[in-house]
């Protein structure tokens, strides 16, 4: 069985008396160590798919279909199974601007708390926290900072450190670079990709930035209003878009971006 198996996933959201079909018939298979990107705009359902993978859909959601992560039935499995899954098998990184950390506690305390929650001793947790910060190339004194003392890029690195704390097999990244400066964006993506190689992680990356995604390996799906309109290996999908939506997105990429995209794509 593949690491991630999503079969005919449908999600409806109830809001304001109406029901919105947020995700229509989504399918995805990802092997261990594989990489997949989901591209779409707000309202396309891409973030909802990630939440479904972690079993974190809100109370006003209704789902059908199957979602299996590392053999665990996320939609119908027991709470215990899901709790074991979260952070130990699969973890998530959100947008930097979403302030993922508790503002009144230091970053260190939160990473250590997460580690202790998953069974590490205090001393071990402290050591691991320092190792994690080395891994994301943050100076260890930043461990003692509060969230607001970190810049957007640093906060995101810290969030990645937190996500990798329990050595998961799968990393879900929901718009990890949105709202960051372009150079910082490129650095964060670079960090995520190199960590992926180092730790042999599977990665599902969600973004609205096509220029970013066009440089990635693995597979790609494009979502529009809940529907998956394109899916396949990145290079194939980008080279021969079938749907008007993707065509117009590619056309909107500025010349100087295209010039580099067609050249060296990492194998």
């Amino acid at each position: 069985m593949a690491l991630v198996e999503v079969e005919d996933l449908n999600v409806w959201m109830a809001a304001d008396g109406r029901s919105v079909h947020a995700v229509k018939d989504a399918n995805l298979t990802l092997e261990a160590g594989g990489q997949h990107a989901i591209v779409g705009e707000s309202g396309s359902g891409k973030s909802t798919v990630l939440l479904a993978l972690m079993g974190l859909l809100p109370p006003n959601a209704t789902v059908s279909g199957k979602v299996f992560v590392d053999g665990v039935d996320v939609l119908r499995g027991s709470e215990a199974a899901l709790a074991a899954l979260r952070w130990r098998t699969a973890s998530m990184v959100f947008q930097s601007s979403s302030n993922p950390f508790n503002p009144v506690r230091t970053v260190r305390s939160q990473i250590v708390a997460a580690l202790r929650l998953h069974g590490r001793g205090k001393a071990e947790a402290e050591r691991r926290a320092r190792d994690l910060f080395d891994m994301v190339r943050l100076p260890s004194e930043c461990l003692g900072y509060y969230q607001h003392q970190l810049s957007g890029g640093m906060r995101q690195r810290a969030a990645i450190a937190l996500a990798l704390a329990c050595q998961p097999k799968l990393l879900l990244a929901d718009e990890p670079t949105t709202a960051l400066d372009p150079i910082v964006q490129a650095e964060i993506i670079g960090l995520i990709l190199s960590l992926r190689r180092e730790l042999d992680l599977a990665l599902i990356l969600v973004s609205h930035d096509l220029a970013l995604v066009g440089h990635l390996e693995g597979s790609l799906s494009v979502m529009l209003r809940g529907e998956t309109v394109e899916q396949g290996p990145v290079r194939e999908v980008m080279a021969a878009p079938r749907h008007e939506h993707l065509r117009s997105l590619i056309a909107a990429l500025p010349d100087f971006a295209l010039a580099s995209a067609s050249s060296e794509v990492p194998a």
Binding site: D8, M13, A14, A15, D16, G17, R18, V20, A22, S42, G43, G45, S47, T48, L50, L51, G55, L56, L57, P58, P59, N60, A61, T62, V63, S64, G65, K66, L75, R76, E79, L82, A83, D174, G226
Partner: protein, 311 residues
């Protein structure tokens, strides 16, 4: 008209939800609260404007339990309790309402002033609020009564003085955050005067909050009044629920087993306070567009049963 686009959290988040969200608020709680309060208001008006009489002193029928003749029994002087309850409704409610109104007026004004100003005024008012919050209610009331003498009017003032600072703090917090909103900054950049900002942007946000704290203030005022009357700080001139309870204890109702002297006014107070509180809760739900946070430990979304081949 373009629909609200769904986001990962289901379409409405704090940023784009409507300011008035009656959906979950219009439930049975609100209906019950309004019905209860309206009924008591009606009873109070009846008691005030229809010259009711609890009956002359009838020594032969003291401490009578509830019966067909006297629905809630009689007191230590043979007077009908039920009548007294109706007559006592008006003072109990009016004092509470007036005191709350005064408290909210003072508190709202001070809160807005403190929240909007950035410098020393805010600090000074904050200290004043803090002082009044810690003033102990009963000793303060005793002192005031000793100095001014008892009376309904004085009681309204005393209760208002005790309650205004809670409203003020809440309003101050709201105004403080409201002042930093981008649309306020934009208006100031356009050259809007402070008055314009207050009237157009700050006040509309603060008023609903004042309504909510106002409902709570009414509840607290009624309770405080009952307490003050129970301790005899309101004087004996006026018959109200609180003084009924006081007379009951003073005149050994419990020793005579006359629970019907103590329970009815106490229960009425409880019911009215609860209704006020529910009203405040419903108002708050309606005004607060934030979604509930999901409890991550329990799966809260619904899963449809899937049978293969069915779509």
């Amino acid at each position: 008209m373009s629909p609200v686009e769904p986001t990962a959290l289901g379409g409405l988040d704090a940023s784009n939800a409507p300011a008035w969200n009656p959906g979950r608020a219009l439930g049975p709680k609100l209906v019950v609260a309004i019905v209860v309060l309206a009924s008591f208001a009606l009873v109070a008006l009846v008691g005030r404007f229809l010259n009711l009489d609890p009956g002359a002193i009838d020594v032969a029928h003291i401490f009578q339990p509830p019966s067909m003749e006297h629905w809630l029994g009689t007191d230590d002087a043979g007077r009908d309790i039920f009548m007294q309850l109706i007559i006592g409704a008006w003072p109990s409610l009016v004092v509470g309402l007036s005191a709350a109104a005064v408290a909210v007026l003072i508190g709202g004004t001070v809160g807005i002033l403190a929240g909007y100003s950035r410098g020393w005024l805010d600090l000074v008012l904050l200290r004043v609020m803090d002082y009044f919050i810690v003033v102990p209610a009963l000793p303060f009331a005793m002192v005031i009564t000793a100095v001014w003498g008892p009376g309904l009017g004085h009681m309204i003032l005393v209760i208002a003085i005790l309650l205004w600072s809670t409203t003020a703090r809440v309003v101050r917090a709201q105004v403080k955050s409201g002042r930093e909103r981008l649309y306020v900054i934009r208006a100031r950049m356009l050259g809007a005067s402070h008055l314009h900002v207050l009237l157009r942007h700050i006040l509309p946000q603060a008023l609903p909050l004042i309504g909510t704290t106002g409902s709570l203030a009414v509840a607290l005022a009624i309770l405080t009044q009952a307490a003050l009357e129970f301790f005899g700080l309101a004087g004996t001139a006026v018959l109200s629920w609180g003084s009924m309870i006081r007379f009951a204890f003073q005149r050994d109702a419990m020793l005579n087993g006359a629970w019907w002297m103590v329970a009815p006014p106490g229960i009425c107070i409880c019911i009215v306070i609860t209704a006020c509180y529910w009203l405040a809760q419903c108002l708050e739900t309606a005004l607060n567009p934030r979604l509930r946070t999901t409890d991550l430990r329990v799966r809260s979304f619904r899963v449809l049963a899937v049978s293969r081949g069915e779509r």
